[in-house]
């Protein structure tokens, strides 16, 4: 491949990536992928939203935005010297010609137009006696570029959060026990107590976890975690995600306790229409899994009383069952040569733990994105250039050129403005000055 053909290939690639067509195609692709992910039930094995497809599409979007913004900025630089009516974001221009009544000179007409535009909140600048430029919403001039840049920064911030932070979506901490958060935070969270509160109609009102978070240096922080009220310690945020029962099961052999564990019932076991809370604890030292199933909520369980649990011992990985036994609180039973006891029942709190170092950047860039969007759509930049054609020695037509975002009615805008100027010219009082009608 020659150098020039290499450059040609790169140029084609750049043009493609920075084109509006590619941007719109990416938006469509995102929409299709999300719609498919929404319509098809996501499986544990394959989930579109957790697949590499999303980061790949995000990266493509970022590349497209960077290329598109670079192209815009390049264009901007090249048109900066071509006058104030150029350089707005993605503008198109429309011209209307307004015929001058014979009694009015071009200078007077331009003066009247200046007054008319000033009334409409345009910042008007006279370039000469018969030429002017006017702008409105000047601050919004670069809002489209701001929107694109903010979106690039937003994607980058999300990537930083994903790469440098961590998230534990569900950590079950049993009352009176501790859990090491890990991820080099050196933090240990302990659940001191858990409280639930209900509305009179039985709807949950509050889930409150009283916790103590211990640091590596021996200091600690006590606090409360509730839904909508996370606790933040050393940049790590702890959220209330769930709660439930945690029966404590003791296993002994020949009268000697070999294991005792509280099993949070964090999952569910379905049997027909009945759903029972269920949990498992892995006893690595014994090579056993302890499965515990609680009574279904509402007291309509045909097998288990509210104070009973069903305990099943399996070999690790649930390959072989060693049998199951129903136990009331405080009772014990024999299973596979072991004595299994349901010692007591505690509560557990399901916490979601996350560290998102660039989170403020996400909100700032999202705010800037919204600001840019409002600039583009609510306060669009428009620029008007008014001058005479100079076709006739005296009089001549006035040419009004309106620059306005393409597709947002610039042609009509120009036509309306032209009509207003024409109307104003017709109603001019030669002695008294200018009046505007129907504007």
């Amino acid at each position: 491949m020659t150098e020039s053909s290499g450059k040609g290939w790169l140029k084609t690639l750049w043009c493609g990536l920075s084109s509006n067509r590619f941007g719109v195609a990416l938006i469509a692709l995102w929409a299709v992928v999300c719609a498919v992910g929404l319509a098809l039930p996501q499986q544990v094995g394959f989930d579109v939203f957790r697949s590499p497809l999303i980061p790949v599409l995000g990266a493509l979007l970022a590349v497209s935005l960077v290329a598109c913004t670079a192209r815009r900025l390049g264009k901007r630089r090249s048109v900066f010297h071509s006058g104030p009516t150029s350089g707005g974001d993605g503008g198109g221009s429309h011209q209307v010609r307004v015929a001058l009544p014979s009694r009015i000179s071009p200078e007077e007409a331009v003066e009247m137009t200046e007054a008319l535009l000033a009334k409409r909140r345009y910042a008007v600048r006279r370039l000469s006696s018969d030429e002017l430029r006017a702008e409105r919403n000047r601050l919004s001039r670069h809002s489209s570029t701001l929107t694109h840049l903010a979106l690039i920064a937003l994607i980058a911030s999300v990537a930083v959060v994903a790469l440098t932070g961590f998230e534990e979506p569900f950590v079950a901490v049993v009352e009176g026990e501790e859990h090491s958060i890990g991820h080099e935070t050196g933090l240990i969270v302990g659940l001191d107590s858990f409280k639930t509160d209900y509305w009179p109609d039985g709807t949950p009102r509050a889930f409150l976890s009283m916790v103590t978070v211990r640091r590596e240096d021996g200091t600690q922080e006590e606090g409360m975690i509730a839904v909508n009220r996370p606790l933040k310690v050393n940049g790590v945020r702890l959220f209330q995600a769930a709660y439930g029962r945690a029966p404590r099961i003791s296993i002994s052999r020949d009268g000697e306790t070999v294991a005792e564990v509280a099993v949070p019932l964090r999952g569910s076991y379905r049997e027909g229409l009945l759903s029972r809370p269920a949990g498992v604890a892995h006893l690595v030292s014994l090579g056993l899994d302890v499965w515990v199933i609680g009574a279904a909520e509402g007291g309509d369980d045909p097998i288990l009383e509210p104070n009973q649990v069903l305990v099943e011992l399996t070999s690790e990985g649930a390959a072989v069952s060693h049998g199951q036994v129903v136990l009331a609180r405080g009772a014990a039973g024999d299973l596979a040569g072991l004595t299994v006891a349901f010692v007591e029942e505690k509560s557990f709190s399901g916490l979601s733990i996350a560290k998102e170092p660039a989170l403020p950047a996400i909100w700032i860039t999202a705010g800037l994105f919204s600001l840019g969007l409002a600039g583009v759509l609510w306060f669009p930049y428009s620029a008007i250039s008014v001058g005479r054609t100079g076709r006739r020695q005296e009089g001549g037509d006035i040419v009004v050129e309106v620059r306005w975002p393409k597709g947002s009615g610039g042609k009509r805008q120009a036509a309306r403005l032209g009509a207003s100027i024409e109307e104003a010219l017709k109603t001019v009082d030669h002695q008294g000055g200018i009046s505007e009608k129907g504007s």
């Binding site: 067509r21 469509a28 009179p200």
Partner: protein, 262 residues
Amino acid sequence: MAKTLLTISLVSFAVTLLAYCLPRKVMLRHLRLVSYALGLVVLLASIVLRYVETGILPFATTQQFAAVFAFGAAAFGVGLESRRPESSRAINALSIAVVIALLIWSVLTYRTQSSLVPALQNNPLFLSHVVLAAAAYGTFVVAFAAAVAQLLVRNDGGRARVGPRDMEGIGYQAVRVGFPLFTLAILLGSVWAGVAWGRFWSWDPKETASLVTWLIYAGYLHLRLSRGWSGKKSALVVIVGFLAVVTTFLGNFVFSGLHSYN
């Protein structure tokens, strides 16, 4: 009382729709303006009263949100009616039909709610997120109505007082107003999700459906502003966008997820 007011507003909007469908008469214009304004004021009073009666923001369930959504659509329509009564006639008639459908559902499924689950107990974010979403949805209803009217109105070379281009202009203006509102609604929802659920984005079905909706309208604006799309093609995109709005709105009945509070 709140339910009675909701029913009165429904009747008012039904009268408005009737006035829109009858021939153009000055008296009918007055009637529809009065019934339109009455419906809107009474609907707002119903929403406020519901809050006063229970002390709970009445946005928790889809049925409750339907009333707020209807208010958003009707409020945007009133603005249109006052500014462009002639060109908005068909559009407002269609919008009011959607408002009536929402209110019928809201009245039939009316239930006094006296409790709020912990996740929804964040009044500033709850209020701003839902109100912005309802306002945006309202503008999208008007945009949808404009797109449908645009496709139905015959182009007779500009002889008629109102042509497809007028409809298209109104539809664009509606999206122009609604899109930033919808963006803010999603962003505030994301902020709230970060506080309540610990994740600012969970690919929850409602989140995903709203993202699809956002992408469709973003595509529409890009196609229109950058690629100059107009006419039937852009009207179809707006209609597809509104179908996405409906999917997002009713998604809780199809998909489960974190947003299911019914």
